[in-house]
């Protein structure tokens, strides 16, 4: 158990900046998720923590040791790779026991600890098999077993569930969460799946283009996204965003107008989550449109309408009567509107309106 700190970490390849000035503190026992779209530098950040990639500048500390110049093996961490990284010529027992073997743990002790780790990840029956004779989920558990067998100070997991089917992913997710809380080991977890991030994380760090956009508890980020990118990246379906011009105290776009908050800049992006918008009878909302599709999700219905070129999603009760092609009124909820600067995308909090937490 330990804390981790990244201090102004930069990674460049030639002129290409993969990770730009990332600073991050991870508390002892915390589960931190690095979330972001493909190519945003999540893996690179994690690989620098692991010691598989050198820093261009900056500093990484694990506990109170600066680890910049330490080999991966000297950092006392375990990593689960996206493609598992199992040794195909070794049995499951040998795979799980390899870190102990390298550390020179005597055979007897090693077998005991391999058995214990295998029990934890429910693999005891498969110890004599080779990785190729296991299913994807089982291989994933071998990788987990190998990670926990020597009780490292820090777990690193790079999209460990992305090769599993949807159902297995949900159950493995629960297992990982449970295991992490039980062992109370500081964990950094990389994913591009926002649902994984929301469900697993104590805190989420959202990345884009090599930079951290926002760090916070999942609900905080969901409720108060720091900019338009974070707003649209978290949540499914994602937040509806509208680019508005401000004049004469009104927010305008070609389809509708709303009252502008005081002191609004001349270009403003407003956002509202699908569950905060309402589909009402024509004429009773802020503007009228036509139902593009109406989908039943089970517990709710998802109504999509078209505004200009954009599709807008609205979550409605499942017994909503709207059908494709119906006229529909769309109503914003003034209290849960998000405002972002129309140029920079940065969140703006207004005295009146805006999100009331």
């Amino acid at each position: 158990m330990t804390s981790v700190a990244l201090d102004r970490v930069v990674k460049k390849w030639g002129h290409f900046v993969g990770v730009n000035d990332v600073s991050l503190e991870i508390a002892d026992g915390e589960f931190l998720v690095l979330l972001g779209p493909s190519g945003c530098g999540k893996s690179t950040t994690m690989r620098m923590v692991a010691g598989l990639e050198e820093l261009t500048s900056g500093e990484i500390r694990i506990g109170d040791r600066v680890v910049n110049d330490l080999a991966p093996g000297e950092r006392d961490l375990a990593m689960v790779f996206q493609n598992y990284g199992l040794y195909p010529h070794m049995t499951i027992a040998q795979n799980i026991g390899y870190p102990l073997k390298v550390a020179g743990v005597p055979r007897q002790e090693r077998m005991k600890r391999v058995q214990a780790a295998a029990d934890r990840v429910e693999l005891s029956e498969y110890l004599e098999r080779r990785p190729h004779a296991l299913s994807g989920g089982q291989r994933q558990r071998v990788a987990l077993g190998r990670a926990i067998v020597r009780t490292p100070q820090l777990f690193l997991m790079d999209e460990p569930l992305s090769n599993l089917d949807a159902k297995l992913r949900v159950s493995m997710r629960a297992q990982i969460k449970h295991l992490q809380k039980e062992l109370n080991t500081t964990t950094i977890y990389v994913t591009h799946d926002q649902v994984e991030a929301m469900t697993l994380a104590d805190r989420v760090a959202v990345m884009a283009k090599g930079e951290i956009q926002q760090i916070g508890a999942p609900l905080d980020i969901y409720n108060r996204p720091a900019n338009a990118f974070v707003a649209s990246f978290l949540g499914s379906p994602s937040m509806n965003l509208f680019e508005m011009q401000v004049s004469d105290g009104e927010l305008r776009n070609p389809s509708f107008r709303l009252r502008a908050p005081d002191n609004a800049p001349s270009a403003l992006t407003i956002g509202q989550r699908p569950e905060d918008m309402a589909a009402v009878a024509p004429g009773e909302g802020d503007f009228d449109s036509e139902v593009y599709t109406a989908e039943l999700l089970g517990d709710t219905a998802l109504i999509t309408v078209r505004i200009g070129h954009d599709l807008v999603s609205i979550k409605a009760p499942k017994d909503t009567g709207f059908r494709m092609g119906d006229r529909v009124g769309i109503r914003f909820d003034r209290d849960t509107l998000h405002y972002f600067d129309g140029v920079t995308g940065t969140r703006i909090e207004f005295e009146t309106g805006g999100y009331a937490a």
């Binding site: 991966p72 093996g73 375990a78 990593m79 990284g85 010529h89 390899y98 390298v102 296991l134």
Partner: protein, 277 residues
């Protein structure tokens, strides 16, 4: 394609395979056959496929003390070449497979290019070098000459196999605490084993049958290798075909045995299951 047409196609292909196999195997069969024929039968006309009166006489004659000496020499020269080429080539190939070198493509092109030079074109300069180094008529002369031939190809071959070992596995080993050398020994070598075995077989075959260097660099009977020693049977007044073929069979046996026992090793696919699947 209908089922009927498919069957016809398979039948046609099978016949073709048998014909090709027969063409390839005929000389070997002839070698075996002649080695069991008494001298009077070897070149009887019309030629007969099977020996009429099979005999071991040729083998008994062929197993002279000289032959045993040649055999030993061949083993020493081939073995030493192998023992030096493989470890050296493996380390070089590993380096070339894991690091970017600007000269890499030049090196690889040179390896391929070197294969186009006939040995006959290089024999005189190499002979001069060997002579001025005072190495004529020694094992060292042959071992060094063979390494210059086998090492570049071995590096080239093994690099191909090493490139197929996923890097993630070495990274996993590094995280598990292994030094780069340890990861190489524990992870990379076992996974590249089919390639190492295949390369070893290549080295053995090249050195075992090499004739020109061996003929040029050795002069005493004590230093001769098998292919040169076979010359003994080709005399001024005739060729002792029976004995020649019997010793040919005995020379081939080790090569065939190596192939037979290592066949399974060639089957790659050992990396199956390393990464998703």
């Amino acid at each position: 394609m209908t089922r009927h047409a498919k069957r016809l196609r398979i039948a046609g292909l099978s016949v073709l395979q048998i014909v090709v196999a027969a063409l390839v195997l005929l000389p070997f069969f002839w070698m075996l056959s002649v080695s069991f024929k008494p001298a009077t039968e070897a070149f009887a006309i019309p030629a007969e496929l099977w020996p009429r009166n099979p005999t071991l006489e040729n083998y008994v004659l062929a197993l002279r003390p000289e032959f045993r000496r040649y055999f030993l020499n061949s083993m020493i020269v081939s073995g030493a070449t192998l023992a030096i080429t493989i470890p050296l080539g493996l380390l070089a190939a590993y380096s070339l497979s894991r690091f970017q070198y600007r000269i890499l493509s030049v090196f690889l092109a040179m390896v391929v290019l070197a294969q186009f030079f006939p040995a006959g074109a290089m024999i005189i300069p190499i002979y001069k070098i060997v002579r001025s180094a005072g190495l004529l008529d020694t094992y060292a002369s042959l071992i060094i000459a063979y390494i210059t031939v086998t090492l570049p190809v071995a590096i080239w071959m093994m690099r191909g196999f090493l490139m197929r070992v996923p890097r993630t596995l070495e990274e996993a080993a590094a995280i598990d605490g292994a030094s780069p050398l340890r990861a190489f020994v524990d992870i990379v070598i076992p996974l590249a084993r089919p390639g190492i075995v295949a390369t070893s077989v290549f080295v053995l075959i090249v050195t075992w049958q090499e004739f020109l260097f061996a003929l040029s660099f050795t002069s005493s009977k004590e230093m001769r290798t098998l292919p040169v020693g076979m010359n003994d049977y080709i005399g001024q007044y005739g060729v002792r075909y029976g004995e020649l073929m019997a010793s040919s069979v005995m020379i081939s046996v080790p090569v065939i045995a190596v192939f037979f026992f290592l066949q399974r090793q060639f089957v790659a696919g050992l990396t199956a299951g390393a990464v998703k699947g």
